[in-house]
């Protein structure tokens, strides 16, 4: 069956590079590693381009593969999120500060201290504005598990923010 939509690799890179890079950065916590993951994801997309059927399929595919490659990269490095963010502060702090407010930077640091599964659910929920069902599909996890990760992650983040960011946030 013929498809109306023909994927254009360069256009897909243009449209989604920011999304892929941000997901990888928030999961891996390191700009260099996030760039590597983004490159890896787009090269994998190039190899699977024939299977992509629509722009929405491309978006979902990129989110799923980015999360999976980020998890693989984290497992390979076996570095705790906190350590990663120390590295970010040392090497890339200026770049991070450049684009975000002090509160955003602090919230991201706190987010990086959460367990990987909770972080993944929260990143997809609040960066990509995805529903729990969409997150479950992207992470290939049961819906109940995703809901639990979201609730626990948010609770943990809120309690950490209560201790550390009281002066910035009204709702904690």
């Amino acid at each position: 069956m013929a498809r109306d939509w023909q994927p254009d690799f360069e256009q897909l890179v243009n449209e989604h590079q920011s999304m892929v890079f941000s997901l990888a950065l928030r999961m891996a916590g390191d700009r260099g590693l996030a760039e590597e993951i983004a490159q890896d994801v787009f090269l994998a997309l190039d190899n699977s381009l024939r299977k992509i059927e629509s722009p929405l399929h491309a978006l979902a595919w990129l989110r799923r593969v980015t999360m999976s490659r980020s998890a693989d990269a984290l497992r390979r490095r076996k570095v705790r999120a906190m350590d990663l963010w120390v590295e970010v502060d040392e090497h890339h702090g200026a770049q991070v500060e450049e684009h975000s407010s002090p509160l955003a930077t602090r919230l991201e640091r706190l987010l990086a201290t959460l367990p990987e599964t909770q972080r993944a659910a929260l990143v997809l929920r609040y960066q990509e504005d995805m529903t729990p069902a969409e997150i479950a599909e992207a992470l290939d996890a049961p819906l109940a598990t995703v809901k639990s990760h979201l609730q626990r992650g948010l609770k943990l983040l809120r309690s950490k923010a209560t201790c550390q960011l009281r002066e910035y946030i009204r709702g904690v």
Binding site: Q17, Q39, F42, D46
Partner: protein, 105 residues
């Protein structure tokens, strides 16, 4: 969604990708495609070399068989010639013996 979640959403806005990311991806892709073309070319070359080698081996086998057959045929012809000569000699000898017997009688 409460204030904290709103703050979180604000903090989690997408970051701009590094300026050279797209260029790096495209360069990497080009390199990978070139490697694929080379790998494919190498595979075809190996396949062609294998076919040539197989054809040569098959040809050599057939030539060897034909040569053996030709030699066998040649040897058979020689044996037949030798048998014909022997038969002729025996026939002559028989005739002489028969003639000799008749003379003696």
């Amino acid at each position: 969604m409460d204030d904290f979640e709103q703050e979180l959403r604000q903090a989690m806005l997408r970051r701009p990708a590094p300026p050279r990311l797209k260029q790096k991806i495209l360069e990497h892709r080009k390199r990978q495609n070139t490697e694929h073309v080379h790998a494919r070319l190498l595979m075809w070359q190996r396949l062609a070399a294998s076919i040539v080698l197989a054809a040569m081996a098959g040809g050599a086998y057939l030539w060897h068989n034909a040569e053996e057959h030709r030699k066998g045929e040649e040897a058979r012809q020689q044996v037949l010639t030798a048998l014909r000569i022997t038969s002729h000699a025996l026939k002559q000898m028989n005739q002489q013996l028969a003639e000799h017997s008749r003379n003696a009688e």
